[in-house]
Chain length 140, copies 2
């Protein structure tokens, strides 16, 4: 749909894509290990996809989770498909750390602390490592 | 693990179960269409499961989503696996309504309004309908 922001390509943050979906590394300084997996077509819910497409999308979400775990050793991975504001199917895949600004709440929850250090590798290094990891995981 | 609340059975809220996981109808008066899908074994992350177990768990999450959509016609379904506080794999499957207390934020986000009406069927009716729907969806 013309008015949907996720129907537009987001070239600057995209780190991997295939014919069905794309993976972005979100530029969020509070949560450096924050990826978004976006289904290309404008559908609202996971259950609007065929079972085969659901499996494909979840496989890409899992590859993203595995890459973030390997690269950042987070305390926890958070997965979420909400879409209340932008009802175009997308998954948040977020590496969480005990000293991040919202832990142990959801990143949409209460601010817990200020001025925490940035966990994990620098953004450019993380970007490049994620590209390699996703390409290998999806090829493997 | 002995100290993990999700390693204990929760008989009162459980509406469906198989050998691997169980579905609860959460007693949340702000969000009546709120289910939780809990993996029986104590693992933290989706990617700790085998690919076959990931598919099985996601199939149960999808059956729960489909049942909630059919029974409640929500504005949106929210799916989330967070586990920052209780790192035992579980999924939140939440029917969201434009007049619920947190919409369009996540239910873990900012309170948006007070005193909204309860959407959908009464809890007892929803409970019984979910049992039937999940049983049929998982058998089908």
């Amino acid at each position: 749909m013309d008015s949907c922001p996720l129907c537009q390509p987001d070239t600057d943050e995209t780190i991997w894509a295939d014919a069905s979906c794309r993976v972005l590394l979100v530029d969020d300084e509070d949560h450096p290990g924050y990826c978004r997996v976006i289904w290309h077509a404008h559908v609202a819910e996971m259950s609007d996809l065929t079972p085969a497409d659901q499996r494909h999308l979840m496989n890409v979400v899992m590859a993203t989770e595995i890459a973030l775990r390997e690269l950042m050793q987070p305390a926890k991975i958070n997965l979420a498909s909400l879409g209340n504001k932008v009802p175009h199917l997308h998954w948040h895949v977020i590496a969480r750390f005990v000293d991040d600004r919202h832990f142990p709440d959801a990143i949409w929850g209460k601010l817990q602390r200020e001025g925490v250090r940035r966990n994990g590798p620098a953004r450019a290094a993380l970007h490049d490592a994620l590209v390699v990891a996703l390409t290998e995981l999806r090829a493997g």
